[in-house]
Structures are given as structure tokens and as C-alpha cells.
């Protein structure tokens, strides 16, 4: 006999199911209940940096848009600082760094407005390229999928990003890079996520 390790086991994940909106975005489910729904404003009014919009689809293994997804975003401010007590540095008043969006029931399009994050310090003193962490849940997804969104106008930083560089298949790195375009004079980044098959997005075990 050996001694027993007294760790608990993590509660197992289950799918968020088709009605995730009721709990996490009830307005979208068709009713108002909370004084304040959470996750609608990532950056707040005081955040410095470039205001951007991010849009995309989540596409399943048949090539169809998934129309019942919820995504959450987690990002640093324009100086690469996260609003968290274990991070040195302050973020602007009202900067949450976190947002929650759902896909349109008819088209599957999702989008959120935020600011472009700065470069956060990675491990071993290596700066990371600007990125937004994303977490994707939906019916049919048993454990939430983690990925990262990078920006195509940060090619130089992306080339040395320590996380992108652990992906040994260089052609797969492109699945994490959002494409910039201008719409009515404002920057919009397109980021489609493919769950399965050709051009499958890279997902991480974080």
C-alpha cells in the first residue's frame, strides 16, 4: 500500500446544450430578467487603444454555420495588462477584459466590439503577440474549446509568438489569425472558426 493522495477530481464537463442563452444571455432567449446581463462590454469607455470589431462564424464538420454557440473572450488592455490581481500594473476603470457573445440564430454570425490588446509577457521573458483568448461552448461540444485569436497586421510579432511557434504544423497557425479589413473607416477583423475538417482551427489544452 502507498499513501493516498488527497486531491479532489475536477467536476467533469458537460455540453452547454441548445439553450445556453437562457442562463447566460436571457435577452437572446427572448426574455428580460436580469437588471444587467454580463459580458456585453469588454473594454469599457475609458480603455486606451484602437477600437476594433471582431466578427466571424463557427463552422461545423459539414461546412454549416453553427447557430447556437456561445463564445467568451478574455484579453489584456492596450498595454498588455490583464485586469487581475496577479498581474502587475493597472487597467483602465471599467476595463473588464472579458466578454460574452452568442451567434445569430438565423445566420450564425457573431461579433464583438473591443480594443486591440497589447503584447503580454509570456513565459521565460518572451513577449507574446497581441491575442484574444476565446472559449467556445455549444450543443454537441462536450468540453469548452479554447483557442486564440491573433491579428494579421501583427505579422512580425506573430512570427516570434511563443504559442504560435509550438504549433509544429506551420500551415495550421494561419487558422488563428484574424484578417483585418476597413468598413466605414473602422477596423473589422474577420475570424471564422472551423470545428472540424479542412482548415480545422487549432484548439488548445490550456
Amino acid at each position: 500500500m502507498v499513501q493516498k493522495l488527497d486531491y479532489l477530481k475536477e467536476t467533469p464537463s458537460q455540453t452547454a446544450g441548445p439553450y445556453v442563452h437562457i442562463g447566460l444571455a436571457p435577452g437572446a432567449a427572448g426574455f428580460d430578467i436580469y437588471e444587467r446581463e454580463l459580458g456585453r462590454d469588454i473594454a469599457g469607455p475609458n480603455a486606451k487603444g484602437e477600437r476594433i470589431r471582431i466578427e466571424g462564424l463557427v463552422i461545423d464538420g459539414t461546412g454549416s454555420p453553427v447557430k447556437d454557440v456561445m463564445l467568451e473572450a478574455w484579453q489584456a488592455n492596450a498595454e498588455g495588462i490583464y485586469p487581475h490581481p496577479e498581474q502587475a500594473g493597472e487597467t483602465e476603470e471599467g476595463f473588464k477584459g472579458w466578454g460574452r457573445v452568442i451567434t445569430d440564430f438565423d445566420t450564425g454570425e457573431w461579433g464583438f466590439d473591443t480594443i486591440k490588446p497589447g503584447r503580454a509577457m509570456g513565459r521565460n521573458g518572451h513577449l507574446m503577440a497581441p491575442h484574444i483568448s476565446l472559449w467556445i461552448v455549444a450543443r454537441g461540444i462536450n468540453v469548452g474549446l479554447n483557442t486564440r485569436l491573433y491579428f494579421d497586421d501583427e505579422a512580425e510579432a506573430n512570427a516570434t509568438d511563443p504559442v504560435l511557434n509550438v504549433i509544429e504544423w506551420e500551415n495550421r497557425r494561419a487558422t488563428l489569425i484574424a484578417k483585418r479589413e476597413m468598413r466605414d473607416g473602422a477596423p473589422v477583423y474577420r475570424f471564422d472558426i472551423t470545428l472540424q475538417g479542412d482548415n480545422e482551427t487549432v484548439f488548445f489544452d490550456i
Binding site: 486531491y7 477530481k9 475536477e10 467536476t11 467533469p12 458537460q14 455540453t15 452547454a16 446544450g17 441548445p18 439553450y19 445556453v20 442563452h21 437562457i22 442562463g23 436571457p26 432567449a29 430578467i33 436580469y34 444587467r36 454580463l38 464538420g61 467568451e72 478574455w74 489584456a76 485586469p83 487581475h84 490581481p85 496577479e86 472579458w98 503580454a120 509577457m121 509570456g122 513565459r123 521573458g125 491575442h131 472559449w135 461552448v137 450543443r139 454537441g140 461540444i141 462536450n142 468540453v143 469548452g144 474549446l145 486564440r148 511563443p162 509550438v166 504549433i167 495550421r172 470545428l195 472540424q196 475538417g197 480545422e200 482551427t201 487549432v202 484548439f203 488548445f204 489544452d205 490550456i206
Partner: protein, 242 residues
Amino acid sequence: MSKPAEFFQRDREWHPPAFSQDYKTSVARSPQNALISLEQTVSEITGPRFGHGDVTEMDRDLLHNYAKPGECAIGERIIVHGRVLDENARPVPNTLVEIWQANAGGRYRHKKDAYLAPIDPNFGGCGRTITDENGYYYFRSVKPGAYPWRNWVNNWRPAHIHVSVFGTAFAQRLITQLYFEGDPLIAKCPIVNTIPDQAARGQLIAALDMNASVPLDSIAYKFDIVLRGRRSTLFENRMEGN
């Protein structure tokens, strides 16, 4: 505050795999490539924080938070309570717990739910709260009904409450489902059975808790939630590299 340190590796054999044949929707929504494992960075070991300003007291009372004044949702009155802990058995204080569920007849208040069981005009079906300094939380609600779903043609979900928890880091983010002790549908459910290990499935079954029940008012179930544990910084881990 301790130095930033990593969370334990998630045990992917304890959680369900992405692809599970009998839960049909997973077939086209599961990645075929292996997940790429990351050494955690500040992006993973930090996460959003919520305060009491984000929720109200009423948000945890599903009997009344959508009811007309003086009225109440219909169904078996229950209390769901428990603690949020990490794998080191340490409480996770001040973390957001959100729930959603069907009404007593198994019908969701959602424009996409067309099940013929009726909507309860006094029941919304969602609640949220923040754990106290001991990681403790509680909700009041009605016990949800089972409902049919299009998987196999005669599949019925066991009574369940969806649960979403944040913890202190994006790496701890978790959504799961709570089931009720003794429900015979649990063993037949393809979603429950995506979890390979029987002990892991058991971890999702809330226990009837007579001690916490309120006599002549509500019956209680206890549901503890365990989030990923965090490694102690026994040796410098070079997270910041300086």
C-alpha cells in the same frame, strides 16, 4: 497574493472526449486534430472577476425572480447548495456561479424550444450568484422535469440544471450539468454517458440533503463543484522570466 503558478493539467480521460458517437451532435462538432497543449501563460492563469454589484440578491431565487408580484413558480420546491472547491480542496470564494434549467414540466423558456409541455408564466429558469468567502453558494428553484430531445427518437434527458462556473482563471472555466440522486434516466442518457468513468458521472449527481431541507417548505440537494487545482510555487517556474 502568491506568485502566479500553473493549474494542474486537466485530466482529459476524466472529462468526456470531444467525439462521442451516441451523442449525435458531437459527431460534426468535434475537432479531429489533437488539442495542442500549452504551458500556461498570464493569459490562462488570469480570468475575469465579478462582484456583488454584478448580481442582485433576487438573482439566486428562481421561484420568484421571474414571477409576478405575490406569485411563484409551480413545481417541487428545492434548494440547491454546495461549495466551489479546487482540486486541493481549497474553497473558491467570490466566484460567479450561473445556472439555467427547464421548468417543472421540462419546458425551457426559449424561443427555440417547441416541446408541448407549457411554459410556466412565473418561471424564467435562470439564476446566478457569487460564492461567499468559504466558496459556498445556494439557489432556490423548482425541480426541473425530464424532457425529450431528438437524438434517438425516444431519448429523454434526466432532470438537470446547467451550471457555469468561472473560478479565478480562464483555465478553470467550466460548464457542466447537475443531475438528481435516484433519477433512473441518468444511466440511459447519451450526454451523461459521454463521460467514460462511472465515478466521474457520479460526481455530477446532487445528493438529497435532508439536513438542509426547510421543513414544510423546500427539499434540498447538495452539489459541490470542483475546479482545477493550482500548483504551489515550490520552485521558481520562470513564468515572468525575470
